[in-house]
């Protein structure tokens, strides 16, 4: 059972949730809620937006200001909300397909603007909701219902993409490293700017089964064994990193934040009864 302060954030009225047994999405939701309680956020001042997918159903279960939008477009909605009320804490949760396929353009532009939004990408390497088609995060040679003979496309590296596009805080966690993930989300929310948390999670039904990865527990063990802490990377040889991924804080910088820049612009041009100027 989650702690009492976490329970307060849940819309238990909307349970049972839609996630399959063994799905990692609930663990990520728990990490997000723990980070919101750790930061003492108020649900009525916290907006959680999402697109469409299994992961995007998450806001429905959270008793905050929640916005379940269209596939890939949630950052557009979140941008409007944040601009209209910059004082709100805005979180955007997306699936890997939602974020980097149909929503890829919105993702890079939100990063470029450095709007103060924290995105949590539920990266299960597959389109879960529609039953296991490949996503831009599906590894080469993996099987998907639309890649029955093995996938021949190269996947994105979400972190590298986010950094190149202008995100100012980028981190990676996993469902296995739930405490680390919580800490990373906390830092992402605290960081004033566009924060990206690549949250690796397991889809035992639509990805694991097809790719002979075993049970949900086996997939979690895979996350444990494949993750390399960011601090350890410097001491490692490139060949040791083969087949591994780095977790922890990957990038942090400061840059002008969009709503703050907008406020400055308004301060410059605002005149009472403006039209007359």
């Amino acid at each position: 059972m989650p702690r009492e302060e976490v329970m307060k954030w849940l819309r238990t009225r909307f349970f049972p949730h839609i996630w399959c047994p063994g799905c990692g999405h609930g663990v990520i939701m728990h990490a997000l809620l723990r980070s919101l309680t750790a930061l003492d956020k108020k649900p009525e001042e916290t907006v959680i937006a999402s697109g469409i997918g299994c992961s995007s159903r998450m806001p429905g279960y959270i008793n905050a200001c929640t916005v379940h939008t269209t596939h890939g477009r949630s950052l557009g909605f979140a941008t409007g909300i944040k601009l209209a009320k910059p004082e709100l804490t805005v979180i955007d949760v997306m699936g890997d397909g939602d974020c980097t396929a149909i929503g890829g353009n919105h993702f890079i532009h939100a990063a470029r603007r450095n709007l103060d939004i924290t995105t949590v990408i539920f990266n299960n390497n597959i389109y879960g909701m529609t039953g296991g088609q490949y996503s831009p995060l599906t590894p080469m040679a993996s099987k998907a219902t639309t890649a029955p003979f093995g996938h021949i496309e190269r996947p994105f590296d979400i972190a590298a993409l986010a950094i190149a596009a202008g995100a100012t805080y980028v981190a990676r966690g996993t469902a296995f490293h739930a405490q680390l993930l919580t800490d990373l989300i906390v830092k992402g929310i605290e960081s004033k700017g566009f924060s990206v948390i690549d949250a690796i999670t397991q889809c035992p039904i639509s990805y694991g089964r097809k790719n002979k990865m075993g049970s949900a527990a086996d997939m979690l063990a895979w996350q444990r064994d494949s993750a390399v802490p960011a601090q350890a990377v410097a001491k490692m040889k490139p060949e040791d990193l083969q087949g591994k991924f780095v977790i922890g804080e990957l990038y942090r910088t400061t840059a002008p934040e969009y709503t703050a820049e907008y406020d400055k612009l308004i301060a410059r041009v605002y005149k009472k009864g403006g039209k007359e100027n």
Partner: protein
């Protein structure tokens, strides 16, 4: 004192939006609508509002819906290709019942078509462009004065009915300059969305009031917590597969407009009392058609004009009554026959004559006059 202005139609829309209380615009440039975005970029920050040019039209309407969810009156504007891109998110605003004004300054299509030339080819898309059933409110202004006034009204309707309202402008009116009498701000009647009167703990976000079928709307950040979704939902805003709940939501979406159809429908007539020939046209075409009707009257032809100002809901009962004594109803349109389908639905096919033009030009009065003479 009202002010006299000399504006383009697109400027009339932008200034009407400002007067209506619009304080957010999300858009993407596209001819012939771009002047609206440019005017909003200039005006909004001065009033403490916000303009943002998004990465595409999809994001433009998404941002506008987001701002409205947060409690700010908002708008987006576009033309043909951009109007197509906006359709999916427009549907979300219908389903989630988010007030919003969307402007389409019509140019020739299909596809990139005629970026700088007029058409009326999107009027059916306004009604049926986004998938799924919903009520539609869409205006077609015919003068710059009306661009201004209709935009104020569009915002009022969007707020009152909690749904997107469309303004179907066209390239000629968008770019044409004309005198406008701008009323003083405090003489305008402005409507704001109904806010919840219950405490946040008692708030059921989609529980509609019986007297109008419209649920009060809380702005996010106003102390209320609620869930917005494009999935068909129950009163709690939660996705449902329950047949009774689905039907309740769907029928209410339709009913909230149908019930108040008389408050929404707007039209204009001239010389209809004794008309044998009734010309029905809208938008810029109504301007040439009216000249043609007046010329024909001078020649002694008994002809009148009917102008739907709301294309949707279509003024059907009004047209039925007014057209009852006309022998012929002539429908000039800058498409291959779209609103004429509504006219035929109302008055039957027998008396209806179509006049269509899709070469990027606006009808000349003489062209409509000779058609009137031909059918009289």
């Amino acid at each position: 004192m009202p002010k006299i202005a000399f504006w383009q139609g697109n400027m009339g829309i932008a200034m009407g939006a400002i007067a209506a209380g619009c304080r957010f615009f999300g858009g993407y440039p596209i001819t012939p609508s771009t002047e609206i975005a440019e005017a909003m970029a200039e005006e909004l920050p001065r009033l403490g509002g916000k303009f943002i040019q998004m990465e595409d039209e999809i994001a433009g309407i998404a941002a506008a819906i987001g701002a409205s969810i947060a409690g700010v009156k908002s708008m987006t504007a576009t033309s043909g290709p951009g109007f197509s891109l906006k359709q999916e998110n427009l549907g979300l605003a219908y389903m989630a019942e988010i007030p919003l004004v969307v402007v389409d300054v019509m140019r020739g299509g299909p596809s990139t078509g005629l970026p700088t030339k007029i058409s009326q080819q999107d009027v059916m898309q306004a009604r049926w462009g986004s998938h799924g059933d919903h009520g539609t409110i869409a205006y077609a202004p015919s003068s710059v004065q009306e661009c201004y006034e209709i935009t104020v009204e569009a915002f009022n309707m969007a707020e009152r009915f909690r749904q997107p309202v469309l303004i179907m402008n066209d390239e000629v009116l968008g770019h044409m300059r004309e005198k406008v009498i701008v009323p003083e701000d405090d003489t305008l009647v402005l409507v704001d969305r109904k806010r919840p009167t219950v405490s946040p703990d008692e708030f059921v976000p989609y529980r509609a009031d019986e007297q109008d079928d419209i649920p009060p709307m809380a702005g996010m950040g106003d102390g209320y917590r609620w869930h917005v979704t494009g999935l068909t939902h129950n009163d709690w805003g939660f996705p449902t597969n329950n047949a009774a709940e689905i039907e309740k939501k769907m029928l209410r979406l339709m009913r909230k407009i149908d019930r108040f159809r008389d408050d929404i429908v707007k039209y204009d007539t001239e010389s209809v009392k004794d008309a044998d020939v009734l010309v029905l046209s809208y938008g810029s075409v109504a301007r040439t058609a009216l000249s043609a009707v007046r010329m024909a009257r001078k020649k002694g032809i008994k002809v009148g004009h009917f102008r739907p100002v709301t294309l949707w809901p279509f003024p059907d009962k009004e047209l039925e009554l007014i057209a009852s004594r006309a022998k012929t109803i002539l429908v000039p349109e800058l498409n291959c026959g779209q609103m004429v389908l509504e006219v035929e639905r109302v008055v039957g096919k027998e008396r209806v004559v179509r006049q269509n033009l899709v070469n990027g030009e606006l009808f000349k009065p003489a062209e409509i006059l000779s058609k009137i003479e031909e059918v009289a």
